[in-house]
């Protein structure tokens, strides 16, 4: 399946682009998508505990199952205002 990953702020800089497309085998979970991106950009790995993930606009756990065409957003600790 094909997954789109959007990264914001410091994570966007670590991934060198706001958006990545990755291919994952059937049955993959959010954690597998994170793992695939972290293999490509090893600096991401240290940020796993502080990152919230949204799947198709809803906050999701790392254990949640993915479906083809899903969009994941990687959200570092916020700081608006």
């Amino acid at each position: 399946m094909r997954i789109r990953i959007l990264a914001f702020a410091a994570l966007r800089e670590l991934c060198h682009a706001p958006e990545h497309a990755i291919e994952l085998p059937a049955g993959a979970r959010v954690t597998d998508a994170w793992g695939a991106l972290a293999r490509e950009f090893p600096a991401l790995a240290a940020h796993r505990a502080s990152t919230r993930i949204a799947r198709n606009g809803q906050v999701a756990s790392f254990e949640e199952a993915l479906a083809d065409g899903d969009e994941l957003a990687l959200l570092p600790p916020v700081g608006g205002g």
Binding site: F8, A9, A54, G57, L75, P76, V78, G79, G80, G81
Partner: protein, 138 residues
């Protein structure tokens, strides 16, 4: 009238006037302005704001709904600027309108506190010496 907006252009009085049309007995306006002092002695030239816009707008709406329920019918509007916001410029405006001032003050405070805590918006401090750093937390 759109009560929840993320804009790239400066937040200026006409934008607020439009929203102040929701004035009731009292409207409280909070303006967040970029400080020149980072708090650790470095001089800030500008903040760079970035948002996950769809989620941020939904969060603004949730916060406004919560404020309306908690403080009895208060109407809240939120505008946040993204991109480069220079020191001295407005980064965020929160307006709360209610029949009585106490509820408007409480709702305005609630909305800006929750926005800082929850909205998927990030800022990078860009210093006068050319360096920069992402900052999280209120």
């Amino acid at each position: 009238m759109t009560l929840f907006r993320i804009v790239e252009e400066p937040i200026a009085p006409p934008m607020l006037d439009e929203i102040a049309g929701l004035r009731d007995g009292g409207t409280v306006t909070f303006l967040g302005i970029v400080r020149e002092d980072s708090g650790d002695g470095r001089r800030v030239r500008a903040l760079w704001y970035e948002a996950c816009e769809m989620m941020a707008l939904r969060e603004f709406e949730s916060i406004a709904d919560e404020a309306r329920h908690r403080f009895g019918g208060v109407r809240v509007a939120i505008i946040h600027r993204i991109g480069e916001v220079r020191a001295g410029e407005i980064s965020v405006a929160v307006l709360a309108a209610a029949a009585h001032r106490a509820a408007a003050f409480d709702a305005c405070r609630y909305a800006i506190d929750e926005l800082k805590r929850r909205a998927p918006i990030w800022k990078k401090e860009c210093y006068a010496d050319g360096s920069a750093q992402w900052r999280s937390g209120a």
